[in-house]
């Protein structure tokens, strides 16, 4: 058969050698069966690792966003809105009690349970503080200082004194402040 393109004409020996080489390449490379099994066993593992490497940043970011999003949602609900009656505003309670060994916050919000809201001694070593989320409204409270109930000197006294021991009042305003 005549080659249509004269520039591609080649010598007969070269042509034969090329045909042999092409035929060998088409047959593929002979691999021992045990090598082949070993190779195939490694391929899926590499694919899994590649998939993890590809998805790790995305999954990390997704989980982080989910966690922060939920936290933000909870904090938003607990901040200022008055739409939901159970929203809460943060109130900082503090009392100066340098010689006390144990101070807790008691009030209608924790059913006057001295073990429910223990206060922490501040860095000055003399003041005890606690930040508490309270829903808007009026709350009656006191401090249990080494077992004795004390009112808050900076807060108004409660009008209801049914038991002869005074309490204090904190009013949480729906807009987030306290009075």
């Amino acid at each position: 058969m005549k080659n249509p393109d004269p520039s591609l004409e080649v010598d007969e020996p070269v042509d034969r050698a090329l045909r042999v080489a092409i035929a060998e390449m088409r047959e593929g490379i002979a691999v021992r069966p045990e090598w082949r099994a070993e190779l195939l066993a490694k391929v899926p593992a590499r694919r899994r690792r590649a998939a993890i490497a590809r998805w790790m940043p995305a999954s990390l970011a997704a989980v982080l966003c989910l966690g922060l999003g939920l936290t933000a949602l909870v904090r938003w609900h607990g901040s200022t809105s008055a739409i939901e009656p159970r929203v809460a505003s943060q109130v900082r309670f503090s009392i100066h009690a340098p010689s006390a060994t144990q101070v807790s916050l008691v009030g209608d919000f924790d059913h006057w349970d001295p073990s429910a809201l223990p206060m922490q001694r501040a860095r000055d070593g003399e003041t005890w503080t606690l930040d508490v989320h309270l829903r808007p409204g009026r709350h009656v409270f006191a401090y249990a200082v080494d077992g004795d109930l004390k009112t808050d000197p900076s807060a108004p006294r409660a009008v209801e004194d049914d038991f002869g021991v005074p309490s204090s009042v904190v009013v949480v305003v729906a807009s987030g402040g306290t009075r």
Partner: protein
């Protein structure tokens, strides 16, 4: 899997640090471990009947726990608890079925301070008419009323001042300011009714200055 675990850890750590900044939240339904068995049973019986009336029962347990912590005997505790139940019922009669538990508690505190039920109802109507979709409409007016009356402001003067401020659009922050300012003035020697009139007039002036005056239509 390892990636998920790392991400979750970071998220929890981030949440924890934010929560640490945010303070603690009391249990939504705190128990009453300090109540003796007989007192607890008596309060529970009363709570059952109060619940049927659609009144909140949590304040009753809180009151019983307060009395116990303050060393009152059971008889005295139950007198206070029954009185509170009656005040909650009267508050509901004055404020209507739509009042929330917090509003009923605030109404009960006003009644406890000596405000007549019809004045509580009057203030409740005024606050409801000016209510905004933000809700929580009655708590602060009633709390302010209770505290001012407890400081010897006459109920009539207190309700009139609050009605006036609410009709001008005063919000919770203004009412809370009124409450603290009046308390301070009384402590400084001012007569209670004069203090509330003067302070409420001052707040009303501030509210009027906040809104642009309406332009008069051209005449002639």
């Amino acid at each position: 899997m390892r990636a998920f675990a790392i991400g979750l850890t970071i998220a929890v750590v981030a949440s924890g640090s934010l929560d640490a900044q945010g303070g603690v939240t009391p249990a939504s339904s705190p128990g009453t471990p300090q109540l003796g068995p007989s007192l607890k049973a008596a309060v529970e019986r009363l709570a059952d009947s109060v619940r049927v009336l659609g009144l909140p029962t949590d304040p009753l347990f809180a009151k019983a726990a307060e009395g116990t912590l303050k060393g009152a005997d059971e008889q005295r505790v139950m007198i206070a608890v029954r009185r509170l139940a009656r005040e909650l019922s009267d508050a509901k009669a004055a404020l209507g079925d739509g009042a929330t538990g917090a509003e009923l508690e605030a109404g009960a505190s006003a009644l406890h301070a000596g405000v007549a039920p019809d004045l509580v109802a009057r203030l409740g109507r005024a606050a409801t008419e000016r209510a905004t979709p933000s809700g929580g409409r009655l708590v602060m007016p009633l709390v302010t009323l209770a505290d001012m009356v407890a400081r010897r402001v006459s109920p009539q003067a207190a309700v009139t001042s609050l009605e006036s401020l609410i009709s001008r659009g005063a919000g919770d922050a203004q009412l809370a300011n009124l409450r603290t300012d009046v308390e301070r003035d009384i402590a400084a020697g001012e007569r209670p009714d004069i203090a509330v009139q003067r302070r409420s007039a001052s707040i009303a002036r501030g509210l009027e200055g906040r809104t642009p005056p309406m332009s008069k239509p051209p005449t002639g």
